[in-house]
């Protein structure tokens, strides 16, 4: 039972981390390598809340808003001129990530920061004692996933986004303001990255490089997921479970590379990954 919970919650955490990256990749067709930096910014939002003595719950909306605002600025001034040059956009966002990391180091120092735990302790769940916070991440992942489903299927922005995903030229020809759709998506993706950072802060240490390790995993998952959220959910469940199984029964050291290895294998066999799921 614990194993099953470990698998599901690990998948949930991966989904939370990767969803912002996927949103941007799906609509804009660029990989936002500043994703790790926005994640770190979100973690530091939790630090700021802890230092100011504000309830840590407030760090979640704060991290989303800060991430979205920074994402909006990035889209307008750095990414927008590079839409036709996706490789340059990768370089630009990667560089931006380094700059943001250094700015955080200047502001907060290099060392590990401490935050308030949102939900400390364990609860009895389905017969085992399990970390309350990890169960909460599962709920958070479901909310984010459900939110996306609603957004895409139930709103004007979602409709426009789907149109842009399917055929951007046609969408523009039909009078859709694709620039606005792109900007909104980028802000949403960056905001989600910030939110993910704040959500991760009770599980990990917050330091200027906290986002880097997560970025690689998220990138692999998004590549394997193609550009669909259902695909991402499948990828997170499969690879997250594999990671837990390998860590539990073989070696936690090998577990750390499971996601990367499986993503590479899946893309070798199915270049489109899980996008048709």
């Amino acid at each position: 039972m614990t194993l099953a919970l470990d698998m599901i919650t690990t998948a949930a955490i991966l989904f939370i981390v990767a969803s912002g990256l996927l949103a941007i990749f799906g609509v804009l067709k660029i990989i936002n390598f500043a994703h790790g930096a926005w994640l770190t910014v979100g973690g530091y939002c939790a630090v700021v809340c802890a230092q100011a003595g504000i309830t840590p719950w407030l760090s979640l909306p704060l991290a989303f808003v800060v991430g979205a605002a920074l994402g909006g600025l990035t889209e307008r001034f750095i990414v927008r001129p590079l839409y036709d040059r996706p490789l340059d956009a990768i370089l630009a966002t990667w560089g931006l990530g380094i700059v943001v990391g250094q700015l955080i180091t200047l502001g907060f120092g290099r060392d590990v920061q401490f935050t308030e735990s949102l939900l400390p302790g364990a609860v009895s769940f389905a017969g085992v004692d399990y970390s309350l916070y990890r169960l909460f991440t599962l709920a958070a992942a479901l909310v984010i996933g459900g939110g996306f489903a609603l957004l895409l299927d139930g709103t004007r922005l979602g409709l426009s986004a789907r149109a842009v995903i399917m055929n951007e030229h046609l969408a523009r020809a039909l009078g859709l303001d694709t620039a606005k759709v792109r900007a909104a998506t980028f802000m949403l993706g960056a905001g989600l990255a910030g939110l993910a950072g704040a959500l991760l802060s009770p599980l990990t240490s917050v330091d200027p490089t906290m986002g880097v390790g997560w970025l690689v995993g998220a990138f692999m998952l998004v590549m394997a997921a193609g550009s669909s959220f259902a695909g991402l959910a499948v990828a997170c469940l499969l690879f997250g479970s594999a990671q837990v199984i390998v860590s539990t029964f073989v070696s936690p050291i090998l577990g750390g590379i499971t996601v990367a290895v499986l993503s590479a294998l899946v893309l070798r066999i199915r270049p489109k990954g899980f996008s048709n799921v």
């Binding site: 290099r110 399990y130 970390s131 240490s205 390790g213 936690p252 050291i253």
Partner: protein
């Protein structure tokens, strides 16, 4: 113009370097600073504790210089970030030894960084005082250690847990020389004293996800947990996730320092630590040291700890060795180092045992406010046979 001015300077420095290497002696004039290189992990895993180490070294240098320095020469610190790892350490050691031409290296570092830096120490022939506790058996004629090794630290912890009735142990560590070395020794000692190790697991040093390990721990039936991670971030993530998962076993941490414990807050409560220094040591030297640290750093003060105090004492040990040798010449300093005794916050310490030091060890328990209460102490624990071939 510029060319003619730079050229003689370069030639002179190259010449003096050549001479220094040839004779092994430094031709310093009286009044030239004696330069102490401090490669330390300002970034990476050690970044939590490194600032306190630098502060301790700064205080030692200031106090020695206030009394007229060493042989009439002031001490000067040259700090370099080694990023807590092997690659960074190679750069930091190379630049300190060959570019900055320091007279000695005194530093707290990860074992990976120390091992990566040692070849440069051998090539550059500088004394190197290592001030971090470590897994033991690192031997070089240039290397002296004034901190503890497993033979000194582990027995107090296991003896205490055994007395508390724990016989089944689970061991968790970071996958590097220190983590594995400490836990291998712990496993051996547990077996010798009649206990049983029911499981052991390691995560890479930069790993943050302890989920599977914690689940294994919970299902193993262990009665006590002993961990030995890299200092700083891995310690924090492991402790947070342990507490999040509701693990409340007796928990001995072989690698947590008081400062980190204080910052972790309630999560650290109850953790057992075994150390040669805790701020609660009641001695005049410790009180004077703590007062001087507070006076010098005020608000900026990082809690002095089992990594920073050996750094402080090592600067005094080096100064005493240079005084005794009458020179900064490497061979003379190396001969003097095992013979000088420093009375510092941890008591009287001499690196007399195969380049290692007998130490008084304290077993402490972290309290809810982050302070460490001394549960018991063990006088002058011998480091054992660390380097019988030196």
């Amino acid at each position: 113009m510029t060319k003619t001015r730079i050229f003689p300077a370069l030639a002179a420095s190259a010449l003096s370097m050549g001479l220094a290497l040839a004779s092994g002696a430094a031709f310093a004039q009286s009044g030239d600073p004696i330069r102490i290189g401090v490669p330390v992990g300002l970034s990476g895993a050690n970044s939590v504790v490194a600032p306190s180490v630098v502060q301790a070294a700064e205080l030692a240098v200031e106090q020695i210089n206030a009394k007229g320095g060493v042989l009439g020469r002031p001490l000067e610190l040259v700090v370099a970030d080694d990023a807590s790892g092997a690659a960074g350490a190679q750069k930091a050691f190379d630049s300190l030894i060959f570019k900055e031409e320091v007279d000695v290296l005194i530093s707290m570092e990860t074992s990976a960084a120390r091992n990566a830096g040692l070849p440069a120490v051998q090539r550059g022939r500088v004394p190197y005082i290592y001030t971090s506790f470590y897994e033991g058996r690192s031997c070089s004629p240039y290397l002296f250690v004034n901190a503890w090794v497993p033979e000194q630290q582990v027995p107090p912890v296991v003896d205490y847990l055994m007395a508390e009735g724990a016989t089944k142990y689970y061991l968790i560590g970071s996958d590097y020389a220190f983590g594995r070395g400490m836990l291998e020794f712990a496993a051996k000692y547990i077996a010798e004293t009649g206990g049983e190790v029911v499981g052991d697991d390691y995560l890479p040093m930069d790993g943050t996800d302890w989920t599977a390990i914690i689940s294994n721990l919970k299902s193993s039936g262990a009665e006590a947990l002993i961990t030995s991670t890299a200092g700083g971030a891995p310690n924090v993530t492991l402790t947070k996730q342990l507490r999040g998962a509701g693990v409340s076993l007796p928990y001995a941490n072989l690698a947590v320092d008081e400062g980190t414990a204080a910052a972790m807050g309630a999560d650290a409560e109850g953790i057992l630590i075994s150390a040669s220094y805790v701020t609660g040591i009641e001695s005049e030297a410790n009180a004077a040291f703590l007062d001087a640290m507070k006076a010098k750093f005020g608000e900026e003060l990082r809690t002095p700890n089992d990594l920073s105090v050996p750094q402080y004492e090592a600067v005094f040990a080096y100064a005493a060795a240079v005084e005794k040798a009458g020179d900064t010449d490497t061979r003379a300093v190396l001969a003097a180092l095992p013979e000088v005794t420093v009375t510092g916050p941890r008591g009287d310490i001499t690196m007399s045992r195969q380049n290692h030091a007998p130490l008084t060890m304290y077993l402490g328990q972290v309290q809810a406010d982050g302070s460490v209460k001394v549960v018991s102490s063990f006088e002058n624990v011998d480091p054992g046979e660390q380097c019988p071939n030196l």
